[in-house]
Amino acid sequence: MLVTNKINTQQLADQLADNVEAVAGRSLWQDAWARFRKNRAAMISVCVLLFIIVCIVIGPSIASFSHDEIDWNVVADPYELGKPSLSSGHYFGTDDLGQDLFARTMKGGRLSIMVGFMGALVAVVIGTLWGSISGYVGGVVDSTMMRIIEVLDSVPFMFMVILFVTLFGNNIYLIFIVIGMVSWLGIARVVRGVTFSIKKREFIEAAHSIGVSKITIVRRHVLPNVLGIVMVYSSLMVPGFIMFESFLSFLGLGVQPPDTSWGILIAEGAKTIDVAIWLLMFPSVFLVATLFCFNFIGDGLRDALDPKDR
């Protein structure tokens, strides 16, 4: 019995050795994804966020009114006739001009979330490239690139916005440009720091000893290893951009009516809080839910990506 078993085992071993069909490995990303999936708060946040995104994408087309359409039936007494109701088609009610709040919330959400994602995208692309090159090359290049960041960072932000608005007029793209200009500074610094520590790791020296070019080292060996931190950082940055757009709009420097954003809706709603609470409530719920989701997702990502740091 034992002897036959031994032969069988040997055959099995030979078969295993000859089996060139590769076994799939489990990358660090897959590990992180598995940990992320176990994080309940983060997974719920992902679902809620997806729901909100679906809402704002299809919302304006299922609304009974368009976001800038005045419903003359309710203008006579908007606080009474414009209450939220399913029968009138104003699911979230109307504002004092008789505009449908449901349509406006969805429309405003598009802008708010777009600002958040655009800011994060610009920050990630420019910031990661800038930071990793600065950190990897080091020396004079590093000092110069960091000084440029410091100069940009020291320009008063509001002053820049006001200047741009007076020069080029009020324009939604201006917000993207301004947020883009400043958003990458922080992430570039973070990436530079991480790159510094990765640069000293042995696998970078190994790549160097093989004769891999600097660009390829940055692309193949540095960037994938800073990407985790970049993801965490950028997901935690998105709420900041949304808030910032709200703040600019609140000051009248951002989006102009009839276009809207959650920030504007909340600002308007705050004025009528005692007579029409729904004007404040619905946009706030969406904004707060979105901000919460991004924060939980960022937290979840951080826990998933560096399990040692918990």
């Binding site: 590769a22 660090l28 790549a207 004769g211 891999v212 070019s213 994938p224």
Partner: protein, 327 residues
């Protein structure tokens, strides 16, 4: 038979500046490698031993220009290695490769092992087709004793010994002439050390490699080397054929190192005199005058502080010592 010199170093120096000072004369300098002369012959295994911090690793990196030497000449196959432009150097790196100390840290955690092993191929032979790269990676994994079906796994799924095999496969896939191993087994379990050392030895025979083996473990060096160099504080102490250095050590430092090697046989070990060296390695910021070893040398004389050691002995075995009675 005249042996072909593959790589030779003449008066090689690597100095690091430590700290910053406005006056250049006040800046401190660490002489990590200080005037090393070395010839590496094709087909041999050269062992380099010494304590921690004596400059072994820096020497290894300087030989391959991973660290830029401060001074001295490097001749690679008769060409001036230090004169290579960056581009030429990158292209010629395929002829000399390195195996690193920490097997897991020397592999990028985001790449599969087959990507790690294929990297030299992709760098130096970008025209190769995917199937051809894969075929050569599989052949190389087979050579170093890794199962080829594990090629899509990631470094963290392997043990230290397996990772070191990956590192060796990566170094050898381009058929280099010279492989410098910087303490390739010091991070591994003892049982795995022997496997990896034997693997290196077998591959050396099979592929006609030249090895430079850096180690602080004398038994490792003894097992594999044809020639040995003993270093202390950035300087050579004794160089020669391994049997000469190990069995007829003449330099006091080599003798002390050899006497400190533990012996597994207790009966032999009991009657042994261990030559303990007093004190620690002096700071390389401020090395002793004359012979750098004199502060700990049991046979130091007044002469040793005044005069730098001179080379004595024959080509097969020479030492650097000021004391004329030893030299």
């Amino acid at each position: 038979m005249l042996k072909e010199v593959l790589l030779s170093a003449r008066d090689l120096n690597v100095h690091y500046r430590v700290g910053k000072h406005l006056l250049p004369s006040r800046r401190k300098i660490v002489k990590a490698v200080n005037g090393i002369d070395l010839d590496i012959y094709r087909g041999e295994t050269l062992g380099i031993v010494g304590e921690s911090g004596c400059g072994k690793s820096t020497l290894a990196r300087a030989l391959l220009r991973l660290v830029e030497p401060t001074d001295g000449d490097l001749l690679w196959k008769g060409e001036n290695l230090r004169g290579f432009s960056k581009l030429t150097l990158a292209r010629r790196r395929r002829e000399f490769q390195m195996v690193f100390q920490d097997p897991t840290a020397s592999l990028n955690p985001r790449l599969t092992v087959s990507e790690c092993i294929a990297e030299p191929l992709l760098t130096h032979e970008p025209q190769l087709k995917r199937q051809e790269v894969e075929r050569r990676v599989i052949a190389m994994m087979d050579k170093v004793g890794l199962l080829a079906n594990q090629r899509n796994r990631y470094p963290h799924e392997f043990s230290g010994g397996q990772c070191q095999r990956v590192g060796i496969a990566r170094a050898l896939i381009l058929n280099p002439d010279l492989v410098v191993c910087d303490e390739p087994v010091s991070a591994l379990d003892v049982s795995i050390q022997a496997q990896v050392i034997n693997l290196l030895n077998d591959l050396k025979q099979e592929m006609g490699l030249t090895l430079v083996m850096i180690a602080h473990d004398l038994s490792v060096v003894r097992h594999i080397s044809d020639r040995v160099m003993v270093m202390y504080l950035g300087k050579p102490m004794e160089v020669g054929r391994y049997d000469h250095v190990f069995d007829q050590a003449r330099h006091p430092y080599t003798k002390a190192l050899l006497s400190a090697v533990p012996i597994a046989n207790p009966r032999l070990a009991r009657n042994r005199q261990i030559q303990l060296l007093p004190g620690d390695l002096p700071s390389p910021l401020n090395p002793p005058t004359g012979c750098v070893f004199r502060t700990r040398c049991p046979e130091a004389t007044d002469q040793c502080g005044r005069q730098s050691p001179t080379k004595s002995g024959n080509e097969q075995h020479h030492i650097f010592c000021t004391n004329t009675q030893i030299a």
